[in-house]
């Protein structure tokens, strides 16, 4: 997950940079910043994971055992916020920082200082968010979507959350401006847009989505803040505002946001599947168009989160059909990945296992998504564990599995060392087993009517909840194995050759040694 650059000076570069902590604070190197993003997101993953363990421990059996309802609600709220904004998104930005310049033959990101700034905003935002547990009234507790009226009424914790979201938004916008400019302006000669690796394509589109919707989120939380403190009534019903308006504006951001978290995952998997199938990616251009279609469609489906909030039938029908339409370009992608594997000489190293696991489980999550898109069913399953199961299938076994796949795939290039393949496979299979143990049963709980965000439940749900909690504890512990694998790889893994995966074709494998030198592609490579 991180690389050791202790020997960076030995590569004969004459620019000196500070050592120790100041090196990391002042660095403008895309590899350093990528490393910091990845460690930061893994730390936040552990924090969010701790909250998840608390939630599952409380739900292990009926009744209130560990967390009082107020604290339970804070746990669910912060678990969501931290995992979305602190873990998954920065992790993908970390991948972009490391990989985009190396994959397009650029020396660094376009705006190196802004890159440093967009990273260092994150720990500030995270501190605000986590410290809100310790203010009077506790952290925000109205769900990660912070709907009013709860978010208008809540205490200081909500204000801290609002500022934190502002800062995270600023960081994301700067990060995506950097990524767009790097990709559009700094490609090596000969690398046309349609020759870019899929990972770069997916990030280009993701970055555009970020610039499109992140400012809207910033506007939304600003309105919330002025409703809370400056007497406006955008969402405050007591002043004539409309809470349903908040839901529209929030999901105008929120739905593209879920694609922001999955498109780079598609990109990572689209790099790994061809490598370990030893075949070029099937249907490259259809893959690009599918990604773009998903991004465009994602902007016109937001109200499928609000079918029960009150909407005319014609609106429900439009959002239902538009949502189901997204299954088409997504289906194209799954078809292409499968066709890439077809008749390939496949091997099943850990990155490939995680990628195949990704395809398998993401398709399951996609199917339950289509089911949720159907209005009459959605009215039944809204705010139940069925929805929880659905989005954990696309975010954990989707985004997170792709992140694991990418970490195993690129760690030899980043650190110059190989990870332990046996342990990696254990990590995959344990994750696979415990993930499904945790979340598959939640489909049944949801269909039976168990509501989300409630610390207690009816006795009829007890057995499945116990199974789910055991799965969650197993899944949580398994991720410590990942930490161990990565640390032991970085410290004492076997030396990695320049191209440990013989099917790899992108520039970082063909042109750069392992570990990638601190400054790479100062002279751009020529791409044929």
């Amino acid at each position: 997950m991180a690389a050791v650059h202790g020997d960076a000076h030995s590569h004969g570069h004459d620019d000196h940079h500070p050592s120790g902590i100041m090196r990391w604070v002042t660095t403008t190197n895309h590899k350093d910043i990528g490393t910091m993003y990845l460690w930061f997101s893994f730390t936040m993953f552990l924090v969010g994971g701790f909250l998840a363990m608390g939630i599952r421990a409380e739900l292990y059996q009926p009744g209130i055992q560990i967390l009082e309802p107020e604290l339970f609600n804070q746990f669910t709220t912060l678990h969501g916020l931290i995992m979305v904004f602190g873990a998954i998104m920065p992790a993908f930005v970390g991948f972009a920082n490391w990989q985009v310049p190396m994959m397009i033959g650029a020396p660094d990101m376009a705006f190196a200082r802004m890159n440093n700034w967009s990273f260092w905003l994150l720990p500030v935002a995270a501190t605000l968010l986590v410290s809100s547990f310790f203010v009077p009234g506790g952290a925000a507790a109205g769900g990660w979507t912070f709907y009013p009226p709860l978010s208008v009424q809540g205490g200081l914790g909500v204000d801290l959350m609002i500022f934190s979201v502002h800062i995270l938004g600023a960081s994301s916008i700067m990060g995506s401006i950097n990524i767009i400019t790097t990709i559009l302006n700094m490609r090596a000669p000969g690398m046309t847009l349609m020759k870019m690796p899929m990972f770069v394509w997916t990030w280009l589109i993701t970055a555009y989505l970020l610039v499109l919707v992140m400012p809207v989120l910033a506007g939304t939380v600003t309105m919330l803040l002025t409703d809370r403190h400056f007497g406006t009534s955008f969402f405050n019903a007591a002043g004539g505002g409309d809470p349903v308006l908040f839901q529209h504006v929030f999901w105008f951001f929120g739905h593209p946001e879920v694609y922001i978290m999955i498109l780079p995952a598609f990109g990572i998997v689209s790099e790994i599947i061809p490598t370990f199938s030893r075949k070029p990616l099937f249907g490259y251009s259809s893959m690009v168009y599918a990604t773009a279609s998903i991004a465009i469609l994602s902007c016109v489906v937001w109200a499928h989160h609000m079918f029960t909030a009150g909407m005319p039938t014609v609106g429900q029908l439009f959002f239902m059909y538009a949502t189901m339409l997204i299954a088409v370009p997504t289906g194209v992608k799954v078809f292409n990945w499968t066709a890439t594997m077809w008749q390939g000489s496949m091997t099943f190293e850990t990155p490939m296992l995680f990628s195949i696991g990704f395809i398998f489980l993401f398709v399951l999550g996609g199917f339950s998504g289509v089911i949720c898109a159907i209005v009459p069913i959605d009215i039944q399953v809204q705010d139940t564990y069925y929805v929880i199961a659905h989005f954990h299938y696309v975010l954990v076994s989707g985004a997170l599995f792709a992140l694991f796949a990418g970490a195993y795939y690129w760690i030899p290039k980043w650190s110059g060392r190989m990870y332990n393949e046996t342990l990696g496979k254990w990590h995959f299979w344990l994750s696979m087993f415990f993930f499904n143990l945790t979340f598959f049963v939640q489909h049944f709980l949801g269909l039976a009517g168990m509501p989300r965000r409630i610390p207690d439940y009816n006795l009829q749900f007890a057995d499945f909840n116990m199974v789910s909690s055991i799965g969650a504890f197993g899944f949580g512990l398994t991720q410590l194995l990942f930490l161990y694998i990565m640390i032991s790889c970085i410290r004492s893994g076997e030396k990695a050759p320049q191209k440990p995966w013989d099917g790899a074709t992108t520039l970082e494998w063909t042109h750069l040694p392992s570990p990638a030198p601190y400054h790479s592609f100062e002279k751009p490579p020529v791409v044929n």
């Binding site: 802004m114 007497g231 004539g240 409309d242």
Partner: protein, 182 residues
């Protein structure tokens, strides 16, 4: 710094993207009036839709409905009450009732009421022509004001309903806050 880094082109790009982000920030706020206009035009949000009096009122004289009037305040030192606690009416018949607010404190206070109806879905059959809800009320110290409500309950109200409740809650409106109707 390096060969394929064109700082000028990059900065131009950065400027364009920042402007785009700024436009999207403003767009977020623009969604508010857009949403209100959209709801008004399409009639989606019936809170924003003024009720109009139908000329030929069909009055169902065979039916009696009890309308209970309820009044609450939340967090402001006003006395708020209907002048009659309930009225018996025929569906389709226009009704006038009166509410009264008194500011018991020694400061000027802005307040605003929001309505609430029972049973569920009553708002489909309730047409109000005159109402004080969603309107800013400014009361000087110890001032009292009477406010009328004119409404009709339509005859197609489901027959099993005999009693309905119309409830208002007054909230304090902070200084500078704008009510939905002035």
């Amino acid at each position: 710094m390096v060969s394929n880094t064109d700082t000028k082109a990059n900065n131009l790009m950065k400027k364009k993207l920042l402007i785009f982000a700024l436009i999207m920030f403003v767009f977020g706020f623009a969604l508010v009036p857009f949403y209100e206009k959209f709801c008004e035009v399409t009639g989606v949000n019936n809170l924003l839709q003024p009720d109009v009096r139908v000329k030929e009122n069909r009055v169902d004289e065979a039916r009696w409905i009890t309308v209970e009037l309820d009044a609450n305040t939340r967090g402001l030192p006003w006395q708020f009450k209907p002048l009659q606690s309930s009225v018996k009416i025929h569906p389709g018949e226009p009704v006038d009732v009166m509410y009264e607010i008194t500011n018991n404190s020694d400061r000027e206070i802005n307040g605003q009421a929001i309505p609430s109806y029972s049973p569920r879905n009553l708002e489909k059959y309730l047409k109000k022509f005159e109402c004080f809800c969603f309107t800013k009320q400014v009361l000087k110290p110890n001032e009292t004001r009477q406010m009328p409500v004119q409404f009709v309950i339509e005859p197609d109200l489901p027959p099993e309903i005999h009693t309905v409740t119309i409830s208002y809650t007054f909230f304090e409106l902070p200084d500078g806050a704008s009510a939905i109707r002035k």
